[in-house]
């Protein structure tokens, strides 16, 4: 004890380091925001990157090419029919002398509109339906699920047939048919996800604190399942695009002189032996568009939820 008495403490023996160092921050594994992780994983995926680039290019062309073209999609020129691609008509002309460059990109607009419509249907109808059904459960769930099962067992083709007995073939008819059936996979995924999340502690905590149903659904549950929902809606896009093109192809979609990729392929099919470019170019654009959305959707899935990645 005597030795201790000899030690003198000066005021500047210890210095206050303040809160410059925070033990709460892990320096070995620094925290990264989720979007950085997602973006990083996405950028690593070459296929997905190619997909998004192609989608951007096609979208830009579809928006701007018809505006800056000298020709319109329905401008008939009987002096210049069935011209092969050249400097004036980049993709040639069809049997009525309509410029295929202008027609192609106007037609692509339709496909992109359908893509947007598909996502909107997914979110507005499918997500809402799934959220209500999953969250409230009980009788509401039973009734909604029975309705869903009945609608699910009606093929889209039959829905369209029913509509066509009443309406003329047009884009609106196709969209109504899509509204009727397109939301079902989305609502099922949403419901399954809600069922998984709604028993979690954080939801219980929120409820104990007196949060309303509205608050719990939109601020607690939705942000936690949103990744899955984005993936799902991306997956429905290629399907919807295909469906529109396919209906236009069999003559149940858009009517002349309006162009969509499906009608262009159909028009080109009529004389593809003589003028193969009329059919090949729109087919190629359609295939590339669907491929890009597929690649993009796959990439997004792997990036948002690596556990879902196919092994």
């Amino acid at each position: 004890m005597d030795e201790l008495k000899d030690i003198k403490f000066e005021p500047d023996d210890f210095e206050l380091i303040g809160d410059k160092q925070n033990i709460m921050i892990d320096e070995v594994e620094p925290a990264r925001p989720l979007w950085k992780d997602v973006l990083g994983r996405f950028m690593e995926n070459k296929g997905a990157l190619i997909g998004i680039i192609l989608i951007i290019i096609i979208t830009l062309l579809a928006i701007f090419a018809p505006i800056f073209s000298k020709f319109t999609y329905d401008g008939v020129d009987t002096a210049a029919t069935n011209i092969a691609p050249n400097a004036t008509h980049w993709f040639g002309t069809d049997a009525f002398g309509r410029d295929l460059w202008a027609r192609l990109w106007t037609g692509t607009r339709i496909s992109l509109i359908i893509a947007i419509v598909a996502v909107i249907i997914d979110i507005v109808v499918g997500m809402t339906y799934g959220l209500i059904s999953g969250y409230f459960g009980g009788l509401v769930d039973v009734i909604l699920q029975r309705i869903q099962e009945i609608i699910n067992s009606i093929p889209t083709l039959v829905v369209l047939t029913i509509l066509l007995t009443v309406m003329k073939p047009s884009l609106t008819t196709v969209i109504i048919a899509l509204i009727f059936t397109e939301w079902i996979p989305m609502s099922r995924i949403t419901r399954a996800q809600v069922l998984k999340v709604k028993e979690d502690e954080f939801v219980l905590a929120s409820r104990t604190l007196g949060a309303s149903n509205f608050f719990i659904i939109f601020r607690e549950i939705l942000p936690n399942i949103f990744g899955q929902l984005i993936i799902m809606s991306m997956m429905t896009i290629p399907n919807a695009i295909f469906y529109e093109a396919y209906l236009a192809f069999v003559g149940l979609g858009l009517t002349v002189p309006r162009a969509s990729l499906g009608t262009l392929i159909n028009d080109g099919f009529e004389n593809f032996l003589v003028y193969p470019y009329q059919m090949l170019i729109p087919s190629l654009v359609l295939a590339i568009l669907m491929l890009s959305f597929n690649l993009f959707g796959d990439g997004l899935r792997d990036a948002l939820d690596p556990t879902m990645k196919e092994m």
């Binding site: 067992s153 093929p155 039959v158 007995t165 069999v250 149940l252 099919f269 295939a287 669907m290 491929l291």
Partner: protein, 314 residues
């Protein structure tokens, strides 16, 4: 087969029946209550039109017509064609067309499933090699390229450029002239099955019972065929449902391209000419097939893998 399974099957059957009834009723009401008639295109005077409508019973109240239709339908009589094939029996028309379409569908599914499985297994066994890449590319392309674009390309290559296969359906030689459309239909099946088989196969190969089987000293063939493949193929049944449904839409367009006188072509033509009875019979058949397929697949999945409790939380 336990009690809950029977209950489940019963419930599904009931829902299917209700759905079919709803479809039939809506279709009937839509076709009958809407303005316009199948005889619009024929230039008939009012009196003639009345005679024609009386002949087909179209002058009676809709409800009476509906009851007659239902009654006839149960005995397999779907009425007669109004426009497309004057006064011919719809049942036999649809039956003839359906025979061809179903044959195509079954061939394409069978062929596609076998090729797809083969591709998937090869890809899984040679993971991350050139074979795997090739299989992946084929399946991505197969999912992305619309069936009708593929059919057109095939037609152009084999039918026109190389001239090895007939491009049109030929009643005299149905087998040879069906090669092209069946292969065209087949692609999406191959792609989907290959993709799914690969995933399943890889997860089975990584499982513990495979390590055990290997540790027992089994040879590679028994290992793959007896242990891995069997377990990997069970889930593939689940994807067959959506695939068959896709195929139904696929046949519609491939039939159009290759001029096959199948169900899809009949339906499209009847929609264009307002031939109500054919529209109804075709749609009803489509819906019926679809519902039966979904039912069989759901039930078989439940039977094969009892761990899956169907109808609960998906």
């Amino acid at each position: 087969m336990d009690k809950s399974m029977l209950k489940y099957i019963g419930k599904r059957l009931l829902i299917s029946l209700v759905t079919l009834f709803v479809i039939l009723t809506v279709l009937f009401l839509m076709t009958r209550l809407m303005p316009g008639s199948p005889f619009n295109s024929e230039k008939l005077s009012k009196a003639q039109l009345a005679v024609v409508e009386a002949k087909y019973g179209l002058d009676k109240p809709v409800f009476v017509q509906y009851l007659t239709y239902l009654k006839n339908m149960i005995t397999g009589d779907f009425g007669v064609s109004y426009v497309l094939y004057k006064d011919q029996n719809v049942s036999s028309l649809v039956f003839d067309a359906a025979k061809i379409s179903f044959a195509y569908g079954i061939c394409a599914t069978a062929l596609g499933t076998v090729v797809g499985m083969l591709l998937g297994v090869i890809a899984a066994l040679n993971r991350n090699t050139i074979w795997d890449t090739i299989a992946t590319i084929i399946s991505v392309l197969g999912v992305s390229i619309p069936s009708f674009v593929f059919a057109l390309l095939m037609l152009m290559l084999f039918g026109v450029k190389l001239r090895v296969l007939p491009t049109m359906y030929d009643e005299m030689d149905p087998v040879y002239s069906s090669i092209l459309p069946v292969i065209a239909l087949n692609l999406s099946v191959v792609a989907n099955v290959a993709r799914f088989t690969r995933t399943e196969m890889i997860s089975v190969l990584g499982s513990e019972y495979m390590t055990l089987a290997e540790a027992k000293g089994l040879d590679r063939r028994t290992l793959i065929f007896r242990h891995a493949l069997r377990n990997a193929l069970i889930p593939v049944i689940t994807v067959l449902g959506p695939i068959l449904v896709n195929l139904m839409t696929g046949t519609l367009v491939v039939e159009q391209i290759c001029s096959v006188p199948g169900l899809g072509k009949l339906l499209i033509n009847s929609i264009r000419s307002n031939d109500y009875n054919i529209i109804m019979a075709c749609s009803f058949l489509y819906a019926f097939m679809y519902i039966i397929m979904m039912l069989i697949i759901d039930i078989s999945y439940g039977l094969i893998d009892p761990r899956i409790r169907i109808g609960k939380g998906d």
